[in-house]
């Protein structure tokens, strides 16, 4: 900046540390989503402690969806690293793979529901089953929102708008996707341990 100006400043107040407001906002959004699921899983614990609780096996498909969501997180991370190295084609491909895996995950969840229905576990009935529909359904809705986000990122990637010097969108999408993956793993472990 202007050197002459600097000489007049006898006190140099520090610029407060700050990060990109959009990225920061994403973290806050994640915090509120986390609170939503924390409260529902707490409700699950409280309700379970009161007895009259129906026991049944979780659909095995949910285990496969864990694998799919981990794979999708890996491809998303590879895409992120590719973007940092300005490998434009790779970014496109990895984001596309993540999107497809996202759809596969949703399909698996849907099949998991069908599995539960064939075992006569319905949304309406003992809360032990209703909770699983609500938790997976709500998580699925968030995955859908993330898929929309992935498609937006894919569009930017196709227009070569994502590069090492323009990472905000890619970074935010990666954060959100990892978060939803972790959230599913948390829900899966939670539901497996607290049957």
């Amino acid at each position: 900046m202007n050197e002459a100006v600097d000489f007049k400043i006898v006190e140099a107040p520090a610029k407060p540390i700050s990060m990109n407001p959009k990225k920061f906002g994403m973290w806050l959004f994640i915090a509120s989503v986390m609170m939503l699921f924390m409260s529902l899983t707490s409700a699950y614990i409280v309700r379970q402690a009161e007895g009259n609780w129906l026991y049944f096996e979780l659909p095995t498909l949910f285990m496969i969806s864990c694998g799919v969501i981990i794979a999708s997180s890996v491809s998303m991370q590879l895409g992120y690293w590719a973007a940092k190295k300005d490998q434009f084609n790779k970014v496109k491909n990895y984001v596309a793979v993540t999107t497809v895996l996202g759809f596969v995950f949703l399909a698996l969840q849907y099949l998991g529901w069908k599995d539960m229905i064939s075992n006569s576990i319905y949304l309406v009935g003992n809360p032990s089953g209703s909770f699983i529909y609500i938790l997976t359904g709500l998580h699925g809705l968030h995955i859908m929102s993330a898929i929309v986000y992935l498609l937006i990122v894919l569009n930017s990637a196709a227009k070569l708008k994502i590069s090492s010097s323009n990472m905000t969108q890619m970074e935010m999408c990666t954060t959100y996707w990892h978060f939803l993956g972790l959230l599913w793993l948390y829900l899966f472990v939670f539901l497996t341990l607290l049957r």
């Binding site: 309406v124 009935g125 809360p127 709500l138």
Partner: protein, 623 residues
């Protein structure tokens, strides 16, 4: 590679400049779908005021029933229509709806959206030195979600089965079963839809407030130099982000119970001798979820008012706020404790007595930071050069209500005492003073204090005094007798007392309360006149009418979109340099460097200048 669209990192200085490029839109973009935080704040304020009026009128309607149970109200036929019985009395079902809607409107629409929405939006960018909120678009969205939610709640007042009537806490099974009361039909559905939208609005707002406070502060505005208003808004937003999703979860499960037949909250219910199919639910579960939001919500309502009060009391005492760090610490303490006391609303639900004493202990600990705050307000006033502006009077009124209402909290927080007082008028008196009236006074203080910045004109002081004294005395006349009524065992939400011989003794006291309520509501019209008339006809405001130190008073009389026409001021000192010994004026604004005030600098402040002079290159790496 040629088509590569490279964006360079946007340096904050580029950011500063673009603020004054885009304004002068048309009517729609300037006043309706505006992204300017000041316009959005005014939108929140006006909507909140409209709701406050509706909520106030509803309360007077049910006070008429309680104070004058024998009166013939058929003169209200044009307004209430079918909600009056043949004898000209308020329909008992509608009475419940009135109470419910009064609570919902006041807690959420007036004291959450109207208070936080107005002042967080208005003051955060102005006081931290930012051009606007982090995301103007999200901010606009936040208002319009609130507006949509308001419209739905408003419509629910006029449907034939009436609005929600299960109390503002909407406990199931009452709220879950349409067969229970008429209000649990369509009215309750609209309530839930409206509140879901409200939660979205509140979260969008909170995310914006926190992001802005942390990331958009001007040069020099460290956390230790933030005005206490900003600290309060910041902590309020944090509480909102952590607690509103929980209300959303509670409401979501209730929606599923109501509309899809699940049994989260319902079990073993017989209606007309017939069992409902719902099995295995727990109504207590709802109370846990609801109060996990519900209690922090109390502080979402109160903290902004406390922040506003700190600012106004310091400014009008012409003294630095006493114990700045203690103020921040106590707000932080209140914010954290607010999450671990929710079960004190549930002492009589059959809770384990040991758990009850844990929650009693945690609840009583809140008295400590609250007392610190009151102590600091009083010590700030102590030997101050006090100017009794209307804003100052309302702030002192807040301190008074916070004290008298807070003391009864010590009684109610005890699980043993609460068994006697639970759900009586004692509770009503307690929370109306400590949370309702205190927050309302904080909001009023804020309006009087920042009106010149909002509209560029001054309000009339004499009308302000009249408004204050009528409201202040009115509020005490309404809520003080309620303590006695409550100790005598009168339960809340009862339609009529005349049926019980035991309770006939307090008819005169109830009448007094009702008359005081009517006068208090009438006093608000003095304010409304003062407010609306002086938006257009008020005396033009000087740039800094209260000789205040914070940054918003360095803007022009009517700041445009972008707030400062030139560069954003840099901050050198904390916001409470009032009556500093040696200083020519009795206030030194935050943007005045210490090097310009050698006469009033303290030794450590002088050292700071010297230190910076020594390293001439220091200025170089501040960019």
């Amino acid at each position: 590679m040629a088509t590569l669209d490279v964006h360079h990192h946007i340096d904050t200085h580029d950011h500063d400049d673009h603020g004054h490029e885009h304004h002068h839109g048309n009517f729609w973009t300037t006043y309706i779908f505006s992204e300017d935080h000041k316009v959005i704040a005014k939108q929140f304020l006006l909507t909140g005021m409209a709701w406050a009026l509706i909520g106030g009128v509803l309360s007077v309607l049910f006070r008429l029933q309680l104070g004058f149970p024998e009166a013939n109200l058929s003169w209200l036929k044009p307004i209430l229509g079918g909600w009056l019985t043949a004898e000209g009395k308020i329909d008992p079902e509608f009475y419940l709806a009135l109470v419910t809607m009064h609570g919902t409107i006041m807690v959420f629409f007036v004291l959450t959206a109207g208070l936080s929405g107005t002042f967080s939006n208005f003051l955060i960018p102005l006081q931290i030195g930012a051009r606007d909120m982090a995301s103007g678009f999200m901010n606009m969205l936040s208002y319009w979600f609130f507006f949509l939610s308001s419209v739905i709640m408003f419509i629910s007042l006029f449907i034939s089965t009436g609005p929600a009537a299960g109390g503002w806490v909407i406990y199931p099974p009452l709220s879950a079963l349409p067969q229970a009361i008429p209000g649990s039909g369509l009215g309750m559905t609209l309530w839930l839809v409206s509140m879901a939208l409200f939660i979205v609005s509140s979260l969008l707002g909170s995310i914006n407030y926190i992001t802005t406070v942390i990331n958009m502060r001007t040069v020099g505005m460290s956390f230790a130099k933030l005005p206490l208003t900003i600290w309060a808004f910041f902590l309020t937003a944090v509480i909102g982000i952590l607690s509103f999703p929980v209300l959303f979860a509670a409401a979501l499960l209730l929606i599923f119970d109501r509309s899809f037949g699940t049994s989260f909250y319902l079990s073993d219910i017989y209606i007309g001798g017939e069992a409902l199919p719902n099995q295995g639910g727990s109504p207590i579960l709802f109370q846990h979820l609801f109060w996990f939001l519900g209690h922090p919500e109390v502080y979402i309502v109160l903290l902004p008012a406390l922040g506003i009060t700190s600012e106004i009391i310091a400014t009008n005492s012409r003294k630095p706020i006493f114990g700045y760090k203690a103020m921040v610490g106590s707000m932080l303490g209140i914010a954290i404790l607010s999450f671990v006391v929710w079960a004190h609303h549930m002492f009589v639900t059959g809770m384990n007595p040991f758990l009850g004493s844990v929650f009693t202990l945690l609840t009583l600990i809140i008295a400590v930071p609250s007392a610190v705050k009151i102590f600091n307000y009083v010590t700030t006033l102590w030997k101050g050069n006090i100017r009794f502006t209307p804003a100052m009077l309302f702030s002192i009124g807040l301190v008074s209500f916070f004290l008298t209402g807070g003391i009864t909290g010590l009684f109610l927080g005890n699980s043993a005492v609460d068994i006697q007082l639970h759900d009586t008028y004692f509770v009503v008196a307690h929370f109306h003073l400590v949370m309702g009236s205190a927050s309302f006074f904080g909001m009023m203080a804020g309006v009087y204090h920042w009106f010149p910045k909002m509209f560029g004109r001054m309000m009339d002081e004499k009308l302000g005094y009249l408004h204050f004294w009528l409201t202040f005395i009115g509020v005490y006349l309404v809520f003080f007798p309620m303590h006695y009524i409550g100790i005598a065992g009168f339960p809340r939400r009862y339609y009529s007392w005349t049926a019980f011989e035991t309770f006939s003794g307090f008819a005169d006291l109830n009448m007094l309360v009702s008359i005081a309520a009517i006068i208090t509501l009438a006093a608000q019209f003095v304010f409304l006149f003062n407010f609306i008339y002086h938006i257009f006809r008020g005396k033009l405001a000087p740039a800094n009418p209260w000789n205040s130190t914070t940054l918003e008073w360095t803007t022009p009389r009517l700041p445009g979109h972008g707030n400062w026409p030139g560069e954003i001021p840099t901050v050198y000192r904390w916001p409470y340099d009032y009556s500093k010994p040696g200083s020519k004026e009795d206030f030194i604004p935050q943007h005045i460097p210490y090097s310009e005030t050698p006469e009033s600098n303290l030794p450590h402040e002088n050292d700071q200048i010297k230190l910076d002079l020594g390293g001439a290159g220091v200025g170089g790496h501040k960019h």
